[in-house]
């Protein structure tokens, strides 16, 4: 058999297998059942407007709080890890290794239930606030490593140039190193942000008040009360409505920043 004939034959078989699988799924599935369970418009309509005004809004707010908090704490940890003072480095390394090694769910649970009892301290914002602190604590560990990598990726000559002009270490870090580091780490930071949007779903473990529910908790409650899976699909679409424009925006930002590289 000629080589080209053989290649075409293999390709034909691959397409045929694909078509067979699709056909099998279409024939075997109970479409009526799937539609009433997952794409029930009446049930979907009942989730509105709360799924937007409460659930999606809370998801965005929690993400913003966790990201800003994680960035601030992460920056401090990154600077500590690069500090010439040894105990700071130990502390930062210990923190990062600890919270990267633990499941976020466990940490959120801990801050919502264990910490208030052990330390006799109620975090602000009720259970949602307590869970959020857990989320900040975990995300800071990841963001710290990202920021540290960004700082180390800025060429040494940049620091030398700034220092040779008489700028002190703090101004050098603030005006020369960090702006360049953040440009370098824009893609991985976007990743962190998108992961964080989805990780807000873990907050359900903290036990949320009705008005504090985010998308997943809200959909889960609706699923139970309506005995129908449609709210999950609506929530899934809501997540995509949040994440897709965000990744587009950051891609645009990245192209813009290339100018100064």
């Amino acid at each position: 058999m000629k080589r080209s004939t053989r290649r075409r034959l293999i390709q034909g078989v691959l397409y045929a297998v694909f078509a067979a699988i699709v056909l099998l799924i279409i024939l075997a599935a109970d479409w009526g059942r799937i539609q009433t369970n997952f794409f029930n418009l009446d049930v979907a309509a009942q989730t509105f407007p709360e799924i937007v005004t409460i659930a999606a809004k809370n998801t965005v707010v929690y993400t913003a709080i966790a990201f800003v908090g994680g960035m601030v704490l992460g920056l401090v940890l990154a600077l500590m890890k690069l500090s010439p003072v040894l105990p700071y480095r130990w502390l930062a390394t210990g923190y990062i290794e600890l919270f990267r090694g633990l499941p976020a769910l466990l940490v959120i649970f801990g801050f919502a239930y264990a910490v208030p009892i052990a330390f006799q301290w109620r975090p602000p914002g009720g259970n949602a606030g307590a869970g959020l602190i857990g989320l900040i604590v975990v995300s800071a560990a990841y963001i710290a490593e990202t920021i540290r990598a960004g700082i180390e990726a800025v060429p040494k000559g940049q620091v030398e140039a700034a220092r040779s002009l008489g700028m002190n270490p703090a101004w050098t870090m603030l005006t020369v190193v960090l702006p360049q580091a953040f440009r370098i780490i824009t893609p991985p930071l976007t990743n962190e942000l998108v992961i964080l949007i989805k990780d807000t779903s873990l907050l359900f473990i903290a036990g949320m008040a009705i008005a504090d529910r985010e998308l997943t908790t809200f959909a889960r409650d609706a699923l139970t009360s309506q005995a129908n899976s449609t709210p999950l699909v609506v929530a899934a679409l809501m997540y995509l409505v949040i994440t897709l424009p965000l990744t587009q925006l950051v891609a645009k930002l990245e192209r813009h920043n290339k100018r100064g590289r």
Partner: protein, 256 residues
């Protein structure tokens, strides 16, 4: 403080701009500088030449303590910069430095490159810093590039911006670390022209270079280094035209 008050009161011309004594520098077990005695007088242009690995860049970088000397002293205008009591940032504002790789800040416009350290290290106001920056940009012939980003400039233009950036601090002296080595040959001339102009204006300069033509024409003194020691120094026409040491002859026969 190790330098007495009389140091500041001494007549300016009596104090060398740079004075290096018994300077040694090791990187691990690698001894790069083996007891250097070296000085640059005020208003003098000293060119340091030598094969790569001879320690000439390390010597230059020790002068503003980008490299930490292992032993020995480095005095800048009579101030011991190896003394831990010395305000290093303050001394550095008086020493302009130009790097082989330019090291412009890529995230800032040309103008911001020139005003940043003026505002942060010299605490100048924005208007004053901008005025000084524009004056120095004009001086290196790049006034119209104020709003460009470094990546939009050629290597030669970037290096001239780097010189203007250093000059904007009103330094008493300038250190050049192989300023034309990273440039395409046709761009070298513009940078050397700016440096010649500076020398003519009486700027104190220490130039590590491979440009023998520049050393001959502009240098008041040429220092030849090899293997971490100063082998020979003197007037350019003597060192370059009539070298006394074998190592100098060998080096010059390769580069000339």
């Amino acid at each position: 403080m190790s330098h007495p008050a009389s140091g500041a009161a001494a007549p300016a011309a009596a104090v060398p701009a740079i004075e290096v004594r018994a300077l040694c520098k090791s990187f691990g077990s690698n001894e790069v500088l083996k007891g250097i005695d070296f000085h640059v007088d005020q208003g003098e242009v000293v060119c340091v030449i030598g094969p790569s690995g001879s320690g000439k860049s390390t010597l230059l970088r020790c002068v503003n303590r980008l490299e930490e000397p292992t032993t020995g002293t480095v005095m800048v205008e009579g101030v011991d910069i190896t003394d831990s009591e010395t305000d290093l940032d303050d001394v550095r504002t008086r020493i302009g430095m130009v790097f082989q790789q330019f090291n412009l800040f890529p995230h800032l416009t040309v103008l911001k490159n020139l005003t940043l350290a003026q505002q942060r290290a010299k605490k100048r106001g924005k208007a004053e810093a901008t005025e000084i920056a524009r004056r120095n940009l004009a001086k290196v012939g790049l006034a119209e590039k104020a709003d460009a980003f470094p990546a939009q400039l050629s290597g030669g233009q970037q290096q001239r911006v780097a010189i203007a950036r250093a000059l904007s601090m009103d330094p008493d002296m300038m250190l050049f670390d192989e300023p034309t080595s990273a440039l395409d040959p046709e761009l070298v001339g513009d940078v050397l022209e700016v440096m010649k102009q500076l020398a003519k204006e009486g700027m104190t300069m220490m130039v590590v270079t491979h440009e023998m033509g520049f050393a001959r024409e502009v240098g008041d003194r040429v220092v030849f280094m090899d293997g971490g020691v100063v082998v020979e120094q003197g007037k350019p026409e003597d060192v370059l035209g009539n070298p006394q040491h074998e190592r100098t002859k060998l080096f010059l026969s390769k580069v000339l």
